[in-house]
């Protein structure tokens, strides 16, 4: 079984402060991990994939297989980063089905 845990429902930081959204997973195979973001009144959209090792909008996430974590980080938060963030795990051996965490609402205060 695959499971994704986002321990923080709410996270609030000040503009310019570093931010880290935590994600832990449980999966017996080799995981594909993703972060999705949902801005106010917009559709849920892909933010980044671990396999790409990319930085999107200043966010990065590193897969730590030892700690089974995929935390999302940004060194300097901006007000426009305020949104709901979901961590998701997909297994290519099961039709690409993704399991999502419960999400973290990030608020960046001015």
């Amino acid at each position: 079984a695959q499971r994704v845990t986002q321990p923080e429902k709410l996270l609030s930081v000040f503009k310019g402060a570093p931010v880290e959204l935590k994600c832990n997973y449980s999966y017996s195979g080799s995981p594909e991990l993703f972060w999705y973001v949902q801005y106010s009144r917009q559709r849920l959209q892909l933010l980044l994939r671990h396999i790409s090792r990319e930085s999107i909008k200043g966010f990065t996430a590193d897969l730590n297989k030892g700690e089974t974590s995929f935390h999302l980080k940004k060194p300097f938060a901006q007000e426009e980063d305020s949104a709901m963030y979901y961590c998701a795990l997909s297994g290519i051996t099961n039709a690409g089905k993704s399991t999502f965490g419960d999400g973290t609402t990030l608020t960046v205060k001015p």
Binding site: E32, F34, R43, L44, L46, R49, I51, K97, F100, D102
Partner: protein, 113 residues
């Protein structure tokens, strides 16, 4: 470019009435298609997925069903809605067996009264 359309955006239906939500994808062929339900303050729960025409897999037993009559069309249905079917329903598609992530539709807010 690929796009995904989902409608209607909002729907209010009485208990016991039927349901049909539609999702179509453009600009790709043979996508994997998914229906999720998003509960407030909770994650997304996978309801159905499809890897091809007429191929439907159900993840949770429920009052809903899904069909895929065409390659890029995915329909979520119910014969008789229950109050507990209220929620926000999302359609998504993926290529490359999910390795590229999902593209989501804009969602349908269903309220059963």
């Amino acid at each position: 470019s690929q796009t995904i359309h989902q409608w209607p955006a909002t729907l209010v239906q009485p208990v016991g009435s039927p349901l049909s939500l539609e999702c179509t994808v453009e600009g790709t062929s043979n996508p994997n298609l998914y229906w999720y339900r998003q509960a407030a303050g909770r994650g997304l729960q996978l309801l159905f997925y499809s890897v091809g025409i007429g191929q439907i897999s159900s993840e949770v037993p429920q009052n809903l069903s899904a069909s895929r009559p065409q390659d890029r069309q995915f329909i979520l249905s119910s014969k008789k809605l229950l109050l507990s079917d209220s929620g926000f329903y999302l359609c998504a598609w993926s290529a490359n067996w999910g390795r590229d992530g999902y593209t989501f539709g804009s969602g349908t807010r269903l309220t059963v009264v």
